[in-house]
């Protein structure tokens, strides 16, 4: 019996709702009502997103599809699987918090709300898009709202920071575009079998888990779908039927070895494709040395925007790597795994060292983001066989799966902690008027609740067991140890430095006998709205640390499929890594890499 996979109409609702609300804000509403409307829509979006948790994802990706630009081969294809579900939840939940956190924004409130809504819509669209064109459009859609949010509502140096953000991100986007177009030019739907076509959603959402893909294929080719007509024409004339469908692109790359042919400068097309995607995403992630836009953008951005930038936007790069780069070019990824791991290790140490040197607390948190995102790269590089010997021996399925789930977990965990920390910094800034660690201190006495929660988030960010930062770091370090001992050693040094700068910040800001600033009267306790923002973040940090299993289970299925495909295509039979426990039991802290901490 065919499992039911009807089109998931909640997905377009999720993307369209904030955008429609943004359009509705073009009417002259008062600031207060703009805020209320925006908050209502954001909460509704969050509710819809959380209702997706119940969706049955066991039979592959759940899709929704509509015609968009058939003349250019692009369609509006949204999909949900275990990989993007956590990130969608993170985005939808953080947005209302970020709005509440923007209480201090008083000028042009309506525009500010509209831009936040556009940002939410674009981010959700990036996570849900299963068509490259849609993915790219949503990706670039984030650019202008973010630019304006920094440039209009930012701090003193906002202009330079906004321009830098814009230029870096656009450059990264163009690399992504080049990569997508290259992948497109090598794709060919006619090489795919009927089950593959069905599973990648080419035949429509309903056919994804069909028992009889051949019949579904026939029904599709006879339909009036422009894609189907192009497919039949291509089959008849033996021309390639190219596609922008991300899943079909991957399936097509699995099927043909067109990408591995020799390209410019003696490297294969796959190598170039991977290099382009990695370059683009390393900017967005950000990885050292392409991270310089991030601290400036964060320091200048208002609190709410910083929360979204760190909590959600930094995840786009990592998500694109897991979704597109690795499945599309496993061989090149394996060949360049040393570079990925190296970038990861260097980012961890560099970010931590830079954070250690900061007196501005917001800048410190910003650099800690750079450091934490390094784990994503490290986790994705895990399981690459025989680096250094030139000819790589391929991916190890189990190790890569563990590393990648660690990377995805780290993205979610960092989304929670960094958003929370930026909010805590914002709270201090509102009360003290500065963020200089040297002039803070003793905040625990006047603001016990706020300080307590901030310390929980700081410790979670440090990666202490029992809080969310620990799981991702541990999984990535464990998985990456075999293939990249040097990078893991760097990362281990990084964890020590992390402890150093987090404890320094904690000590300087929250502990100590007295507040060293001027006016202690301003250090008021938390208001209910502020508590409403902080509580869910702290709870999430604790819950994810104590019970990481539900999240790991969710992301496990798509990652297992990717891991098997990676291992199969790079020619190494999947080995069971004896040392490593399956992700189920990995919260127990044994083994050598953990000792390095």
């Amino acid at each position: 019996m065919t499992p039911e996979t009807p089109p998931l109409t909640l997905l377009p609702t999720l993307v369209a709702l904030p955008a429609l609300a943004a359009i509705a804000l073009s009417t002259p509403l008062s600031p207060a009502w703009s805020r209320r409307l925006t908050l209502g829509v954001m909460l509704l979006t969050a509710a819809i997103a959380w209702s997706l948790v119940g969706v049955d994802l066991d039979h592959g990706v759940r899709l929704w599809r509509a015609a968009w630009i058939p003349s250019l081969g692009a369609e509006a294809l949204l999909g949900l699987d275990g990989l993007n579900l956590p990130l969608v939840l993170l985005t939808a939940s953080l947005c209302p918090l970020a709005l509440i956190a923007s209480g201090s924004v008083t000028n042009r409130v309506r525009t500010y709300c509209a831009l936040l809504l556009l940002l939410e819509s674009g981010t959700l669209a990036v996570f849900l898009a299963m068509d490259f064109v849609l993915f790219y459009v949503a990706w670039e859609l984030l650019l202008v709202p973010m630019y304006l949010l920094i440039a209009v509502w930012g701090g003193a140096e906002r202009m330079a920071a906004a321009v830098r953000f814009f230029v870096y991100t656009l450059a990264g986007g163009l690399l992504l575009l080049a990569g997508g177009l290259i992948a497109y030019s090598y794709s060919d739907l006619t090489t795919l079998s009927a089950p593959q076509l069905a599973a990648s959603g080419v035949l429509g959402p309903v056919a994804v888990a069909s028992d009889d893909p051949t019949a579904a294929l026939e029904a599709w080719t006879e339909s009036a779908d422009p894609g189907a007509q192009r497919f039949t024409r291509a089959e008849a004339s033996a021309e390639p039927a190219r596609t922008f469908n991300l899943l079909a692109l991957v399936a097509s790359a699995e099927q043909t070895d067109a990408l591995s042919g020799v390209g410019p400068f003696g490297k294969s097309a796959e190598w170039w494709l991977f290099a382009l995607l990695l370059g683009g995403m390393a900017i967005k992630l950000p990885a050292v040395p392409l991270h310089t836009w991030l601290p400036r953008a964060h320091v200048e951005a208002p609190t709410g925007v910083s929360m979204l930038l760190a909590g959600v936007l930094l995840k786009l790069g990592g998500y694109a790597l897991v979704r597109i780069a690795w499945p599309l070019c496993p061989t090149a990824a394996c060949e360049l795994a040393w570079l990925v791991a190296g970038l990861g290790g260097v980012s961890i140490v560099w970010g931590a060292l830079a954070a250690l040197a900061q007196d501005d607390m917001k800048r410190l948190v910003a650099y800690s983001s750079v450091s934490h995102m390094g784990y994503v790269l490290l986790g994705l590089a895990a399981g690459a066989g025989a680096t250094g010997s030139g000819a790589s021996a391929g991916w190890d399925a189990d190790t890569w799966r563990i590393g990648a789930s660690g990377a995805v977990f780290q993205m979610v965990a960092h989304g929670v902690t960094s958003a929370g920390l930026f909010y805590c910094v914002g709270l201090l800034y509102e009360r003290c008027g500065h963020r200089d660690l040297r002039r803070l201190g003793g905040l625990f006495n006047p603001m016990p609740l706020a300080s307590g929660m901030a310390v929980v988030l700081l410790i979670a960010s440090l990666g202490a067991p029992g809080l969310c930062g620990f799981v991702g770091e541990l999984l990535t370090l464990l998985a990456a140890w075999d293939a990249h001992p040097v990078a893991v050693t760097l990362a281990a040094i990084g964890t020590i430095l992390t402890a150093a700068y987090i404890l320094r910040a904690t000590r300087l800001a929250y502990f100590g006998p007295v507040y060293r600033g001027d006016d202690t009267a301003q250090l008021t306790p938390l208001r209910p709205a502020e508590l409403f923002v902080l509580t869910p973040l702290v709870l999430a940090a604790v819950t994810l640390g104590v019970r990481p299993q539900p999240l790991l289970d969710t992301i496990d299925k798509p990652l297992t499929a990717s891991a098997e495909s990676l291992a199969a295509r790079t020619g190494e039979p999947p080995l069971v890594a004896a040392v490593l426990s399956p992700p189920g039991s990995s919260t127990e802290p044994p083994t050598d890499a953990a000792d390095a901490r």
């Binding site: 015609a67 968009w68 630009i69 058939p70 003349s71 250019l72 081969g73 064109v133 790219y136 459009v137 670039e140 859609l141 650019l143 202008v144 304006l148 440039a151 209009v152 202009m159 321009v163 814009f166 230029v167 656009l170 450059a171 163009l174 690399l175 575009l177 080049a178 177009l181 290259i182 497109y184 030019s185 024409r233 021309e239 190219r242 410019p264």
Partner: protein
């Protein structure tokens, strides 16, 4: 004999050709009406604007009636004994030109360039140039190619200097006409070489003869003729490059754009360029040896070789025939190459140079019109890229080659709205603030929010950010380029992306100045009251397609692909 010929000519003209040229006839009638209206006492006081508007609306209505069955339903027919051709591309291109006219005629009225007294001069020149552009868009014969270009160019020279008594405008007009005349001379020389070698000036026949010449096995005479052909084509391309402001013949553009009124800059950079690009497509579709011609050629030479083989080796004719078939195809593929390769390489090189030069030169500009002039040059480069891809694809994948032309049409359509909006804002700000210096644009967002918003959207669209129409044009263009594959196309892709990244700086500067920055305290520019409501309405009308067509790109994409289908088959 002669009477039948005359009779045929008459029936062809009145029965087929003229009905298919109703919009042009309407435009010509409007010009005459505008010129004569001054002689009739009662009508003398009527503003020429209304006559021009009525004429353009009528022409647009007639064109819509012509295409009422949809673009795909229009069959290719030759008009006026082969001088013009009626096909979907021609209808689309004229539609684009008339949309331009519908926007441009009110614009010059709103900005005051066409006032009550000499409005009819301006409108006469603009509509006259439009008739020439319509001819360019449907040219099927070297004579109409040249006449069309000249009809479009000569009014443009005058338009560049339309503001009397301004030295800069006069300088612009003089430079433009001198360079233009030189380019026309060069082009005419190329035309005569091509027509002389091929013995005809009818484009499709020329294409067939050139293909035959190339297919003829390596005679010395053929090589010599090919050399002359290449020379002729180069000279013709020089003329086209001048019209398109493509490197290395782009140098007139900044001076002319800076000297001429901004509205005329909008005219030169959108309508004029679109017509030249469509004409370029016509020439390329005739010159790129495509399937039908080669197939014809192959069957004839195949028949000859089969005959040869079967007389020499009668026992097993089937096998050698198959072998010779393969060999023949290979030979045709090899011999079909020189024209195609020549065109692909030259177009790609020109595109790369144009794009890069335009973008790099735009960096240091302080004058809004000069900045937009260099941006225009850069866009000419982007617009040439899909044409290079189309020529490359012409043989292997004619459908993809058509799609590449469709991409160019899509890009040109979006570009029309983008650039016209940008130039219109420059013109309106000139009236509003009395300045064309970029530094004086600071704080525009406060005094004229709509104009500032329109400029920002136009700049972001020209940069190619989604979801504005500029992105989808660029995307369609890049898609065609990667479909054509090969080192040259990779170079095009890399150039386009690097240039987009580089252009961020100056487009973003426009956005920053217009929307975000506070007014410059040292600036001498003073606002002369609020923007007139008509100007704001016009900006909304011209700016809306940038967003709407960006959200629903299929509207234009499907029309453009219908317009370009069948060109290379």
């Amino acid at each position: 004999m002669l009477p039948t010929l005359v009779e045929q000519l008459a029936t062809d003209t009145t029965g087929v050709s003229l009905p298919a040229a109703r919009p042009e006839v309407a435009l010509c009638a409007t010009i005459v009406a505008m010129l004569l209206s001054r002689l009739i006492p009662g009508v003398r006081r009527l503003d020429a604007f209304w006559i021009a508007l009525a004429g353009v609306v009528t022409a647009a209505g007639l064109l819509v009636a012509e295409a009422s069955g949809g673009l795909a339903a229009i069959e290719r027919t030759e008009l006026f004994t082969g001088l013009l051709v009626q096909d979907p591309l021609g209808v689309y291109a004229r539609g684009l030109l008339l949309v331009f006219a519908l926007l441009f005629v009110p614009l010059v009225r709103i900005t005051g360039l066409a006032n009550r007294h000499d409005g009819q001069d301006l409108y006469t020149l603009v509509l006259g140039a439009l008739v020439g552009m319509c001819l360019m868009a449907r040219a099927n014969h070297l004579v109409t190619v040249f006449i069309g270009i000249e009809m479009a160019s000569v009014p443009s020279y005058v338009l560049a200097g339309i503001v009397k008594g301004r030295r800069r405008a006069g300088e612009a007009a003089l430079k433009y006409s001198v360079y233009g005349a030189a380019a026309a001379g060069v082009m005419l020389y190329g035309v005569s070489l091509l027509a002389g070698v091929l013995g005809t000036a009818h484009l499709p026949t020329m294409g067939a003869r050139a293909a035959a010449l190339v297919a003829s096995p390596g005679a010395d005479a053929a090589v010599a003729q090919l050399t002359v052909l290449a020379l002729g084509a180069t000279l013709l391309l020089v003329g086209m490059a001048f019209k398109l402001s493509a490197a290395p013949f782009h140098f007139w553009a900044p001076d002319v754009f800076a000297g001429a009124p901004a509205e005329i800059g909008g005219f030169l950079s959108t309508a004029s360029k679109a017509a030249a690009l469509v004409l370029m497509v016509r020439l390329l579709a005739a010159a790129a040896p495509h399937n039908a011609m080669l197939a014809e050629d192959q069957t004839s030479s195949l028949a000859a070789s089969v005959a040869l083989v079967s007389t020499a080796d009668s026992p097993a004719p089937s096998k050698p025939a198959a072998a010779s078939n393969a060999a023949e195809t290979g030979a045709a593929a090899a011999t079909g190459d020189p024209i195609r390769r020549f065109l692909t390489v030259s177009l790609a090189m020109v595109a790369i140079a144009t794009c890069t030069l335009g973008n790099l030169a735009a960096f240091g500009q302080k004058n809004a019109k000069r900045l937009l002039a260099y941006s225009t040059i850069a866009h000419a480069g982007y617009l040439l890229m899909p044409l290079a891809a189309a020529v490359r694809l012409a043989r292997e994948d004619p459908t993809a080659a058509d799609a590449a032309v469709g991409a160019m049409l899509f890009y040109a359509t979006g570009y029309l709205f983008l650039n016209l909006t940008a130039f219109a804002v420059v013109a309106l700000v000139r009236n509003h603030r009395g300045t064309e210096q970029l530094d004086d644009y600071a704080g525009l967002g406060r005094s004229a929010p709509l104009a500032a918003g329109a400029l920002a959207i136009a700049a972001l669209g020209l940069l190619g950010l989604p979801p504005l129409v500029g992105f989808f044009g660029k995307f369609a263009m890049l898609r065609s380029v990667v479909e054509a594959s090969g080192p040259l196309m990779t170079a095009l892709l890399v150039t386009a992306l690097l240039n987009t990244a580089a252009s961020v700086f100056y487009y973003l500067r426009l956005v920053k100045l217009a929307v975000i920055e506070r007014p410059n305290a040292n600036s001498a520019a003073v606002d002369r009251g609020p923007m007139p409501p008509l100007a704001r309405t016009w900006l909304v009308v011209c700016g809306a397609p940038i967003v709407v067509l960006g959200l629903f790109p299929e509207v234009v994409a499907s029309l453009a692909s219908a317009a370009s289908s069948g060109l290379f088959r």
